[in-house]
Symmetry: C2
Subunit: 325 residues, 2 copies
């Protein structure tokens, strides 16, 4: 008998997507579903966190509450949306102290507030293990929505922020390296809500997604959606300073930067002549955007490293989770 264990999460999601017929204008398959409500799209996204796979040991209840809101807001950000609210559903054991749920609620509330929105409702059920799901919704003008598809050959690839930070935090927690800032980045993800809205308004962006599953997996996803290939210059990727503190070995560093994920930065493409506009946007707004490569119409996705062109491998979230077991 074939079970889900033989498929993995992504293939399971594909099976569901083949059965369920969505009426939405966009999705499933993008960061959010987009529903036509007149001049605007209503954006909706849902994400589930289960204790075992998604909650590193160093995370307290406040961090867990923060995260379930943050990861959903990140999907709204990836489509250029303005958040309208979040709802959360919590399965929790009878044995959890009241203090735990209070701190978790504090984390949810603070994260939503920090990004100018609020938790507007929820549900709580008794369960044998802690499990949380969140749903965020927002709006975006129809002509400003950012999708995963849309890039053309010659477009430039860019990212927000620095990569490898959350991954460094993960190893810092695991091996007590004391990289506090990186640990905080892992425990309390920072969705790029302001940045997503700015990119949406700029008119220079041709496609966008968040890179919670890692840079390589996200590049392959954009490639699948646009039908284009992508060339990334490793030297140009902005790397968190903690990466070289987490690993001396250069190959491990590279793996962290390319494949770990959990950074919740935006990966996007811009029109080929728009690099100066992007850098100006970055300078004026204080949002960190960096060009890291270009879109091509080649045979495969390429990583340029030390002048050498190599095939980029698709080793994202699932690869890392397997390695850690």
């Amino acid at each position: 008998m074939k079970t889900l264990g033989t498929l993995g999460e992504r293939e399971t999601i594909r099976i569901i997507e083949r059965i369920i017929k969505s009426d939405a204008a966009v999705g499933p398959g993008d960061d959010c579903a987009a529903i036509d409500i007149g001049d605007m799209y209503l954006l909706v996204t849902t994400d589930m966190m289960v204790t075992k796979a998604h909650i590193p040991k160093g995370m307290g209840p406040y961090d867990i509450g923060w995260s379930i809101v943050a990861v959903n807001l990140s999907d709204i950000a990836a489509m250029g949306g303005k958040p309208l609210g979040v709802v959360t559903a919590i399965g929790i054991t009878r044995g959890h102290p009241i203090d735990f749920i209070e701190q978790m609620a504090d984390g949810m509330n603070d994260c939503a507030r920090r990004f100018d929105t609020s938790v507007v409702g929820g549900d709580t059920k008794e369960h044998e293990d802690l499990v949380l799901s969140g749903t965020a919704f927002g709006i975006v003008p129809k002509n400003a929505i950012l999708l995963r598809k849309g890039a053309h050959a010659g477009d430039l690839i860019a990212v927000s922020g620095q990569l490898g930070k959350a991954g460094s935090g993960f190893y810092s927690l695991k091996r007590a390296l004391g990289l506090k800032e990186a640990e905080d980045a892992l425990k309390r993800p920072w969705p790029r809500v302001k940045e997503g809205m700015l990119l949406s308004k700029s008119g220079i962006v041709t496609s966008c997604m968040d890179i919670s599953d890692g840079l390589s997996a996200s590049i392959f996803e954009l490639s699948r959606m646009s039908g284009m290939t992508y060339e990334v210059d490793y030297a140009r990727i902005p790397k968190a300073k903690e990466v070289e503190m987490a690993f001396h070995d250069l190959e491990r560093q590279k793996d962290l930067v390319l494949n770990f994920g959990d950074d919740f930065e935006l990966l996007f493409t811009i029109k080929r002549q728009a690099e100066d506009d992007l850098l100006k946007l970055s300078k004026d707004s204080g949002c960190p955007f960096t060009v890291i490569g270009k879109v091509t119409s080649g045979e495969e996705n390429i990583l340029i490293d030390g002048g050498k062109r190599e095939k980029l491998e698709n080793l994202g979230y699932e690869h890392f989770r397997t390695r850690q077991q």
Copy 2:
């Protein structure tokens, strides 16, 4: 150390509500949160189902999929909303057969389709036990929203459909009574989407909620929200024909009708002079609506049974779940 086990689900939800500050125009505390988006409110609701507490043994994967969509649509219906879509998050074990998730997806899709909406997205994670959460959203014109508060003394109390059907189905499954229609009602709840929209447009409704937690608990909830008291005439409650097949004992029948829940009917109040309008609405549309009592400004909620007035007791969902253990 105080734990959640000492509080129960409702008190746990109250603790969270005290911490989280919502910006929504309505909620938490109503069937949905309502968010101001111009002429309309955006309605959002989320519900979680965990295997142990919410999934009776006779339910197959198709029923489970149907239910997670149905229970959320019922909350949209209770506010008079037109559904715009549903998202679902699923935690499922590696050991579940692929066939199981296919049937579950079929159930979700069919339920959404049956009520003129669709599942627009979701998330799937590996988990040790089956857990599902759904979020439904919809819209309602601002001046037509149905809330739990709003009833005045003299208003009439009414319900849709027949009560005790799902409860009869529960006992039929448990004791192999073969009450197929009642079992189906339990396994595949029927949200009153059309009825909710009709009531919302009618202009005669002063408050509304769904009675998934049982009639008595819902009466107490309306009473808490409106500050009024409620008098229900037991003889006027439309009872499912299966109730007397499930129990010979009249007191057990009464308990089933008043307290079991899971019927997903609408409980609402109408203006005192609107009974004829309601009956006409019911006749013209084929929606079954029945007046069962009236709103008062008394001391307590009352049940009139066989000419006798007794205090209505608040014995809903949690009461039943405790009895079954």
